[in-house]
């Protein structure tokens, strides 16, 4: 075995140019695979971050059935008890209460349906990025109960700016009587998300509760954990513990099921890209090995003549194929690391691109993971070695006299 290994390793350098070209081709395949994987991981991280940090939070609590109907009456049950429980829960980093109601907005020049969201201006800063998205004006400075923040596009539709007044009409809980209030636009935000920018307005939660006549109750609690494994967030016992008394607690994974599909799609994409790359790699290896076999036909004849068994000949070819794999993997790992490292520092600008309702707002950074430098090289190694089986069988089956005759 040691001799065959030595022979295989030296054989692949007999035609250095061919080996280097084949090695580079396989190496580029591996580099691409590592890079694409890192890019998709970066994309996932970015999407999760955008989805959870923009407004959603890492989880939410609602009253059972609220998400389906969004009825104003369906406020969270036993909210005081729940708030106290959350305050004392050491897993929770921050949480905030929100109200939601559909309504109409009147400006001097337009009337539009909209979603009125009541937020706790202090706590909301930790759960969402509304304060960071303010373009004009401010995010609930002072204590004016009539401050309202609207999206940039919404402001354009309503033809209003900071300081202008608008009238909001909502229907109250239970009685369904109209409640109408005048607000002053105190801030205009731009989320780069049409759903937010065109149809949502934020007011202080106590004002919203008053308008909706729901006391101190809320429709939603958005929350953020201290330290969690984001991948396994769904496995936390938290969701079960808080899905009681007619309320339901859900992680962002459950709240945005479309993201799971996106991630499955990215996994499928990596698989397809991998498959194409491996098919190319397979052809490169087979071509390289067959060229090498045909050039050394007489030599194989001699090796067989002097008593090298078919199994050892096959082993030699597979070892040559594996040696080529090791060489290529070395190149691929170095290439993959350099390329991914550079982009993980500089990032790729995909800002503004929306995927499944989540708008990428930041530069996308590929994420280097040790797994990429273990899994893919192992796959390339085994695949390359397996591909070597076909030429190996061919060489092993050759009759020695025929091999010596063919090469003449």
């Amino acid at each position: 075995m040691k001799l065959l290994l030595k022979l295989a390793w030296r054989n692949i350098f007999r035609n250095k140019r061919r080996t280097i070209i084949a090695g580079i081709a396989i190496g580029i395949g591996l580099t691409s695979l590592i890079y694409v994987d890192a890019l998709f991981v970066g994309m996932k991280v970015s999407i999760i971050k955008e989805a959870t940090a923009s407004f959603l939070g890492q989880g939410q609590i609602h009253r059972d059935g609220y998400r389906e109907t969004q009825e104003v009456d369906k406020t969270i049950n036993d909210i005081d008890k729940l708030v106290n429980k959350l305050k004392n829960d050491n897993r929770i980093d921050k949480f905030t209460l929100r109200t939601f109601s559909l309504g109409m907005v009147n400006s001097p020049s337009n009337v539009r349906p909209m979603m009125l969201v009541g937020i706790d201006s202090e706590e909301e800063k930790y759960l969402s990025r509304i304060d960071d998205a303010i373009l004009k004006g401010s995010f609930f400075k002072g204590n004016n109960q009539r401050d309202i923040i609207i999206g940039k596009k919404f402001a354009e539709i309503l033809e209003v700016g900071v300081g202008d007044r608008i009238v909001i009409t909502v229907s109250q809980a239970k009685t369904e009587e109209f409640s109408q209030e005048m607000f002053k636009v105190s801030g205009i935000f731009y989320f780069n998300n049409p759903e937010f920018d065109k149809g949502i307005a934020f007011i202080r939660i106590n004002k919203a509760q008053k308008m909706l006549n729901i006391g101190n109750r809320a429709h939603e609690i958005a929350l953020k954990f201290k330290n969690i494994d984001k991948k396994n967030i769904d496995k936390l016992s938290f969701w079960k513990e808080y899905s009681q008394d007619g309320n339901e607690a859900l992680s962002w994974m459950k709240l945005l099921p479309q993201l799971k599909i996106v991630f499955e799609m990215t996994n499928l994409s990596i698989f397809i890209i991998g498959l194409i790359l491996f098919a190319v790699i397979a052809l490169v290896i087979i071509n390289s090995l067959f060229m090498s076999i045909f050039e050394r036909m007489f030599e194989f004849g001699v090796l067989k003549a002097v008593g090298t068994g078919a199994f050892n000949i096959a082993k030699l070819i597979i070892l040559e194929s594996s040696s080529l794999a090791i060489l290529s993997i070395g190149m691929g790992i170095i290439g993959g690391f350099i390329l991914t490292y550079i982009y993980s520092k500089t990032g790729i600008d995909y800002t503004g691109i929306e995927m499944m309702g989540v708008t990428i707002q930041n530069i996308l950074y590929p994420v280097i993971q040790i797994r990429q430098f273990i899994t893919y090289p192992i796959i390339v190694f085994f695949l390359t070695s397996i591909i070597g089986i076909y030429p190996a069988i061919y060489a092993a089956k050759m009759s020695p006299s025929e091999a010596m005759r063919k090469s003449l």
């Binding site: 022979l7 001699v302 002097v306 008593g307 068994g309």
Partner: protein, 232 residues
């Protein structure tokens, strides 16, 4: 007649093969007996069937008809693996173009067969040094074949063929690529080794020098033995 005194016995050996779609009757019923310790040559013009006969004798090719016994073993009764092992243990090959493994050193080339045989490292080393001394290549064990002259490469090939002490050495045109001086030296060396080791040498050749040195010259013509001359 005592069968044990023969290394090779062939009986009505026939072999046809196709070349460019035309069937060539390479060997047409050869009956041959080669005794142990013989130093014999098969001669004849190109296409007379010399190499085919050598290939059949060594089990590299399968005859269409007839039988071959090597060391009293019928080759046709052996499986592919048995034949391969038999060649490894009982036959040494010397080729016209030396056919050393270019990526292995002189030492590694010589010990290749012993490695296949599973000979211990110490024993291999000892045998390699001995045979290198015999063929006059002492101190050259770490060189690669490409750094050697044709004569030196053929000496390595001879060493490789003989190192594991096979009973038969088959040499196909071993001097064809060498000048007459080197050929003469190598032939003298092989004859000396034949005498000292008792190994049987069978050449396939055009070389007059080999014909002169051989103790027996078998002339092939059109796949048949035309003449079988044993010298005193």
């Amino acid at each position: 007649m005592n069968q044990n005194e023969f290394v090779i016995i062939t009986d009505s050996l026939k072999k046809n093969y196709k070349e460019n779609g035309i069937e060539v009757k390479a060997v047409r019923g050869v009956n041959l007996k080669i005794k142990k310790r013989e130093f014999s040559a098969i001669v004849g013009p190109s296409g007379s069937g010399k190499t085919t006969l050598l290939n059949l004798i060594s089990g590299l090719d399968i005859p269409d008809d007839g039988k071959i016994w090597l060391n009293n073993k019928l080759l046709s009764e052996m499986s592919g693996k048995e034949l391969s092992d038999f060649r490894r243990d009982h036959i040494g090959f010397i080729f016209q173009a030396y056919n050393l493994i270019p990526v292995l050193t002189v030492k590694e080339n010589i010990e290749y067969i012993m490695l296949l045989q599973g000979v211990e490292k110490k024993e291999r080393h000892k045998k390699v040094l001995n045979i290198l001394r015999e063929v006059g290549l002492e101190g050259m064990e770490t060189r690669v074949p490409t750094k050697l002259s044709g004569g030196q490469q053929q000496r390595v090939a001879i060493a490789r063929a003989m190192v594991s002490n096979p009973s038969l050495i088959l040499a196909d045109e071993p001097t064809a690529n060498l000048d007459s001086k080197t050929s003469g030296e190598l032939l003298n060396m092989m004859r000396r080794l034949n005498e000292t080791t008792g190994m049987t040498f069978l050449f396939s050749t055009h070389d007059k020098m080999i014909m002169e040195k051989a103790r027996r010259v078998i002339t092939l013509k059109d796949g048949l033995i035309e003449k079988d001359e044993i010298k005193d």
